[in-house]
């Protein structure tokens, strides 16, 4: 559908942004523009920034004077997002909703029930991760609508435009479905999902202009390494040829790893806290917050000035003892090297795997942060997993052992703004490539991506144009393999669950806009009664073909929420109707599973998203 604006929205864990393309602008001026987002930065102060911190604050009566939170579109909001939410939330954390996006992908909690702020006292109004995400999108929508005066010009409202909304490539079908629900709640109707690493690559293509075709060639393999505030996301894109043109295809996606810039800054703050405490000073939680903020600034200064060896970090005294209580320490370059470069990006061999995720009760920790902070080990595992991957296109460049060997790397995410960290990752990749007998990446192999803060939003807008035929598209398709659980027909043993087999219904890479029927299987469903199908996915097994049956998969396949359907057929209640299954990968970026009767009647199965019991 051809709306006037094409809008790319980056709903990030720590910051959100959006960019637009105006199809009505004259050809010479037409370009993708990053939007400024008005938000509360202080009580009584609304300012425009290009990033909206993904934080919500739920004020109580005791927080702010009346009228201090007026937004252009709402004089007395019940809660608010952005810079002030983040600042005030640091002082008063029981009312702060943060990392809603990470909660959206965490199946062990009920993501549609009001659980955030996590651990907040009774009197605080709570939201579900879906509602929180809807609030950020709603803020963007209201800011846009106010600017275009949507009341007078409803065709310009954001809800009427084509929206490309990004999600991590590692998000499974549940998390994608919930993201779409959040968008719908926020009043956005024409939403297509796009994977973030792909958006980053589109941003690179857009920045290069036509020159991009000269930088890469047929047979190349591009690793997108996206490390943001809260997550690390890897993808592989191959370059092949079709009809004389370069053709791009996203062929591999990593696991969802909860590890990012926030973990890194906190690690630095903890180091300095220990240093201060070693000198006899006490650092309480309030001061740790300040230390965290200062560390981030000192770190950025050290990264920006390669010649300086240290940056002072000063914690001012509390209360009236400003000078008297001041403690000073410093962030040294060797701290950055030890904690960040060597701690999070250690030089490792390609066979070193990350420590296994410990299953600690989630009530204690909240979100399941990655057990092993070494990003390079997670990268090693990702590239080795390609050995067992199906290779329908046959173009993933691999070593004889199956280890994927990229020819180029594209960095994305706030963490990768630091040149030192990019160099370290490139160097580690080079060592692996050389060990496997390939040339190192060299300077040509590192694709330069400008404006890392807004790349995903820009790239999403570019993709919107590409869908309308103006620009190149990356072919992707299903990012995981999906299965229906079939209980074995063996006689039941009391006390033991019946063994489960997994019937592949969506093979990895099944293309967008295609459908498939699952051959040779029929299920007898009772008309009028709800039927449930167990639903599973794998991001490791990529060779399973549609209709194949898997058994004894260890932890390669994970169970999602069940699919449900009730066959309604007038006059036939209680009879058993044989149906077969059909699946579809939609253009919007989701899956559809259908029951089809022999006569061709169809019913859609719905994902009934539930809490998963932690072991």
């Amino acid at each position: 559908m051809d709306t006037r604006f094409i809008v790319g929205i980056d709903l990030g864990t720590t910051n959100s942004a959006f960019a637009q393309f105006d199809t009505a602008a004259p050809e010479e001026e037409a370009r993708i523009v990053v939007e400024s987002i008005p938000q509360l930065t202080n009580p009584n102060e609304v300012e425009e920034r290009t990033l909206l911190p993904s934080f919500l604050y739920v004020p109580g009566e005791l927080d702010f004077p009346k009228g201090a939170l007026a937004l252009p579109w709402d004089r007395e909001p019940q809660l608010f997002a952005g810079e002030l939410a983040r600042k005030r939330g640091a002082e008063s954390p029981t009312r702060l909703v943060a990392s809603a996006k990470s909660w959206l992908s965490y199946a062990a909690v009920n993501r549609t029930s009001p659980i955030l702020p996590w651990g907040a006292p009774e009197e605080v109004r709570k939201l579900s991760p879906v509602e929180a995400s809807a609030e950020y999108l709603g803020h963007l929508r209201q800011a846009w609508d106010a600017r275009v005066d949507a009341k007078k010009n409803p065709e310009l409202a954001l809800g009427a435009q084509q929206i490309l909304l990004t999600v991590p490539a590692s998000f499974d079908e549940e998390a994608r479905e919930l993201t779409l629900r959040a968008a719908e709640t926020a009043g956005l109707r024409h939403v297509t999902l796009l994977e973030e690493p792909q958006a980053a690559f589109y941003a690179w293509i857009d920045a290069q202009g036509e020159a991009w075709r000269k930088r890469i060639k047929v047979g190349d393999l591009i690793l997108v390494c996206d490390i943001g505030g809260g997550t690390t996301d890897f993808s592989l894109i191959t370059v092949s040829e079709e009809g004389g043109e370069l053709s791009l295809r996203r062929v591999a996606v990593g696991e969802h790893i909860l590890l990012g810039g926030d973990n890194m800054d906190l690690a630095l703050a903890r180091l300095l806290q220990q240093r201060l405490e070693g000198e006899g000073h006490r650092v309480d939680t309030w001061q740790l917050q300040s230390l965290w903020h200062q560390c981030r600034l000192a770190k950025e200064k050290l990264f920006a000035e390669p010649k300086s060896q240290k940056q002072p970090v000063t914690l001012l005294g509390k209360g009236s003892k400003l000078v008297g209580g001041t403690v000073k320490t410093e962030l040294r370059r060797e701290d950055l090297e030890r904690v960040l470069t060597d701690g999070f990006f250690p030089v490792v061999g390609r066979e070193e795997m990350p420590a296994r995720q410990r299953r600690i009760g989630f009530q204690e920790l909240g979100l399941p942060y990655a057990a092993d902070p070494a990003v390079t080990k997670h990268l090693a595992r990702f590239l080795s997993q390609q050995a067992s991957a199906g290779d329908e296109s046959g173009t993933i460049r691999r070593s004889p052992s199956g280890f994927a060997c990229p020819t180029h790397v594209l960095f994305n995410g706030g963490v990768m703004k630091a040149g030192i960290l990019r160099e370290r990752v490139a160097r580690v990749l080079d060592s692996w490539l050389q060990a496997e007998g390939f040339e190192p990446l060299g300077a040509r192999g590192v694709l330069d991506a400008p404006d890392l803060d807004h790349a995903v939003a820009r790239g999403a807008a570019y993709y919107g144009r590409a869908k309308r035929g103006r620009g190149v598209r990356i072919r992707s398709g299903a990012a995981r393999t999906y299965y229906i659980g079939i209980e074995s027909a063996m006689p039941a043993i009391p006390g033991m669950p019946a063994p489960l087999k997994a019937l592949c219904v969506v093979p990895f890479g099944m293309e967008e806009g295609t459908e498939a029927r699952i051959p040779g299987r029929e299920f007898g469903l009772v008309v009028g009664e709800p039927a449930e199908f167990r639903f599973l996915s794998s991001n490791v097994r990529r060779q399973d073909e549609i209709g194949s049956l898997a058994e004894d998969w260890g932890d390669e396949i994970e169970e999602l929420s069940p699919l449900e359907v009730t066959l309604d057929l007038d006059g036939k209640e209680d009879t058993v109707l044989p149906v077969s299954l059909e699946t579809r990968v939609t253009e919007v970026g989701t899956l559809e599973v259908w029951c089809v009767s022999r006569e061709g009647r169809r019913w859609k199965l719905e994902l009934n998203i539930r809490e998963k019991d932690e072991e």
Partner: protein, 189 residues
């Protein structure tokens, strides 16, 4: 012709008024003297129309409110007031220096956000400069061997500061915290 009763009443009043004050009563004068315009009567108080539901008018502002606000902003962002209120005598220069660097950076950023300053006289310090005729003594101060009429040649010792733009946030509604420079802070355990 005026009614008889009225003539009696007016005549009596005029008699006593001229006798005691030397002038005719104000409200009678136009009726008995030709050419005088009628007195302006205080209009009847009409019931005030219900005010239209317009946005509440901006609260009445006292200029001291803005002074307090500027202090409050520099305190909030840079802790300037805490700094001035502290007694620095017990501390070594190094201790003070460490705190001041931090303070300086924060206050500077805050000030830049709300107040744009520009020099009054452009030019390098200690370099020759000309002060033109008609200069504003509030803007340019002459020191040293001051004599003669402008244009005057001299050396620029301080460029001066002038506010070119000031963008203070709106004040909180009347009566709420207008005198507050920094709220008291209480940590709930």
């Amino acid at each position: 012709m005026m009614g008889f009763g009225k003539r009696i009443s007016f005549a009596t009043r005029c008699f006593f008024s001229v006798l005691s004050r030397g002038e005719l009563p104000e409200e009678i004068a136009p009726e008995v003297v030709r050419g005088l315009s009628p007195p302006v009567r205080a209009p009847e108080p009409t019931p005030a129309p219900a005010p239209p539901s317009a946005p509440t008018p901006p609260p009445v502002e006292d200029s001291t409110d803005r002074a307090v606000q500027l202090l409050a902003l520099l305190q909030r962002d840079g802790r300037l007031v805490d700094f001035f209120r502290e007694d620095l005598t017990p501390y070594q220069d190094e201790q003070i220096g460490a705190a001041v660097r931090e303070l300086h950076a924060n206050c500077r950023q805050s000030l830049e956000q709300y107040v744009r300053l520009e020099p009054i006289l452009d030019g390098e310090e200690d370099q020759p400069v000309t002060v033109d005729a008609g200069f504003d003594p509030a803007s340019v101060k002459l020191v040293g061997n001051v004599k003669g009429q402008p244009p005057l040649r001299g050396l620029l010792r301080h460029r001066g500061w002038r506010v070119s733009e000031i963008n203070l946030p709106s004040l909180s509604p009347q009566g709420t915290g207008r005198a507050v420079v920094a709220p008291a802070e209480v940590e709930i355990q």
